[in-house]
């Protein structure tokens, strides 16, 4: 598998580290215990397109948001995660 880093270009998988699901959003302060439990522990086991955080630690050290199909490993988009490379991030 190869990932096209928006900063570096196409690189081999070995330069990247997988963090996990990019979907969960930290609940507001004062959220219920169920919401926090869901955020911390519960993950969907998607057969299809998922959003994931990957870290280009063996390269430019940017965090990336990767859209990947878990059935085919096809990667349809790679974007800088919020906070990575101030100039290129819209979020």
């Amino acid at each position: 598998m190869r990932i096209v880093c928006p900063f570096c270009g196409e690189r081999e998988l070995g330069e990247f580290t997988y963090l996990g699901d990019a979907k969960p959003v930290r609940p507001e302060a004062g959220a219920s215990e169920d919401e926090v439990f869901d955020y911390v522990y519960l993950r969907d086991n998607v057969a299809g397109e998922t959003n994931e955080y990957w870290y280009h630690g063996g390269g430019c050290r940017a965090w990336l948001k990767v859209t990947r199909n878990t059935l085919t490993h096809e990667i349809s988009s790679v974007e800088p995660a919020a906070g990575a490379g101030a100039a290129k991030v819209g979020a």
Binding site: C8, G58, R61, A86
Partner: protein
Amino acid sequence: MVEFSWAPRSPLEHALVTGAHGTRGIEAGVSLTEIRNFDLIQVMARRGKGAELAKAAKARFGVTAPDAPKAVQGKDATLIWSGPDQFFVLSAGGKHTLQTLVPALSGPASLSDQSHARVLISISGVKARAMLAKLSSIDLHVGAFLIGAAAATSMDHTSVTLWRGNDRPDGLAVFNLLVFATFAESLWHTLLDSAAEYGVAISHSEELA
């Protein structure tokens, strides 16, 4: 009473043995030269200050700092891309030290002195690309990785900054490698192993190519 010596020493002082290595009796296919006594400053734009840093860098170095994986030759310095909104300033002879760059760039950027935190190795020779191909997945063909091309990448699981400098007088490509000081000896041995079959000429120098 204990006496301390603060003279800077190369992290490769023990590992680097000047002369021939590997296959003998042939012209060395790979030249490995450690460049010593350089000034290396990492410059990272503060959040939202990328454009301001670009302006300040242009005024200081006379060239546009790289905003993509490239190495740019400026006034008395090479500017090497090291990640989004950041680059290295490589120079020698005290022309661009932390002390002289802080007044010019610290408004829009954070600076940190990496002069003694990195080892700089220059790799060339007719077998340089063959030897690097064992360690890197980047296409280093002279037609693909042009002069001034750069990459933040890994070799043998070690983070390196790699860029192609100006060709040697005999027309052969030169690849420059910055590696963390504490990983340098390990990577050095890997480079030697990779190059041994081609014959290696080992040296060190204080000349920035």
